[in-house]
Symmetry: C2
């Protein structure tokens, strides 16, 4: 027990037979793995080893590997939402005005891309591993999609966008930003130079904002 504690467990120093909060520890370990190596690397044996526990212990907390990965993916989504909220909070412009509303949308889009570029492992995990179409009971404040809709609604209430252009706008906005993010991180544009990349991002964000 003591040897295992010293050599393998990175989370608790004194590990009793009962872990205490293994479920959370496994998700945390999965998050670390996903961050560094992407979703495919989130493998039961790796994650349990990182938590200092035998492989099958995971089955006390998750039905199977997929359920664990799903939980990790949910957290990745939250991380994305958190970055967006952080960047929005840094925004000095006033919220009620049309200009402020457009500005907020731009900032959110850029934050989304920033997340994909700086936390590629989490980004891939979030979008590659969520059981699609299921609700993952993210609170609205931690759901990127909810944030986007909120910003678009703000656009309407501040009279920056005519109501009749509101329907479907979330798709167009999301698609552009998601598209450039995936092309840059796992698509044919990975090898772009810093400068080309910036150009691509500017142009993409600019075009969709203008086009809404």
């Amino acid at each position: 027990v003591y040897i295992r504690t010293i050599t393998e467990d990175v989370y608790n120093v004194n590990m009793p037979y009962h872990h205490g909060n293994l479920r959370e520890a496994l998700i945390e370990a999965g998050l670390a793995t996903a961050r560094a190596e992407g979703p495919e690397a989130v493998v039961l044996r790796v994650v349990t080893r990182a938590a200092g526990v035998s492989p099958n212990a995971a089955y006390r907390h998750f039905a199977d590997r997929d359920e664990l990965l799903g939980a990790v993916a949910g957290r990745c989504m939250e991380k994305l939402a958190e970055l967006i909220e952080t960047r929005l909070a840094e925004d000095p412009s006033e919220p009620g005005s049309p200009k402020g509303a457009w500005n907020a949308l731009t900032i959110a889009g850029r934050a989304y891309i920033e997340f994909a570029l700086t936390e590629t492992g989490w980004f891939k995990t979030a979008f590659g591993s969520l059981v699609l179409g299921e609700d993952h009971d993210l609170p609205d404040s931690k759901d990127p999609y909810a944030i986007l809709n909120r910003l678009l609604d703000d656009l309407v209430t501040s009279r920056a966008l005519p109501v009749e252009r509101r329907p479907g706008a979330e798709y167009a906005a999301w698609a552009s930003v998601h598209g450039i993010a995936t092309l840059l991180t796992e698509g044919p544009l990975v090898r772009l130079t810093e400068e080309e990349r910036r150009c691509a991002i500017d142009r993409t964000v600019g075009a969709v904002i203008f086009g809404l």
Copy 2:
């Protein structure tokens, strides 16, 4: 030999010891697998079995599994280009006019999305398995990216788009269309209804075209 011919080989009826064109047959088999089950399913043993050949025979034609998958992915890219060209060829509007140039771009974007929706396996293979940033010596006529650039150039020459807006336009256009395609096929939007999907596509294509 005869039994193998009858039960396993789907491509040649009389199969000699020397296959004849195994490289091509393997790519073809890989294409069939990718189409039905996606890139991860393109596995040496499956593909060689489909070609009626022992697993290690592949190594006479490809260095490893990745090289085979890369070849298959290249073909998938060509399939995408072919669909775009087909849809463009069906376009009745005259090519030189500004309106025609915009129209062509719209058609190409829609064809791209159509490909992703109807040939999801190939779409994923094309973008998930190409060795990124390498040139795959696709001829321009079979390279979706080249087609896109051509259409954007046409936009400029027909005076539909000011020259100064040309740089980076390929990124913005590509990103939108690629984004909605991935969100709809492997992302959180897979469960959209037919109607919502159409709305999402229309809005996305419309916004980016307008925003360029």
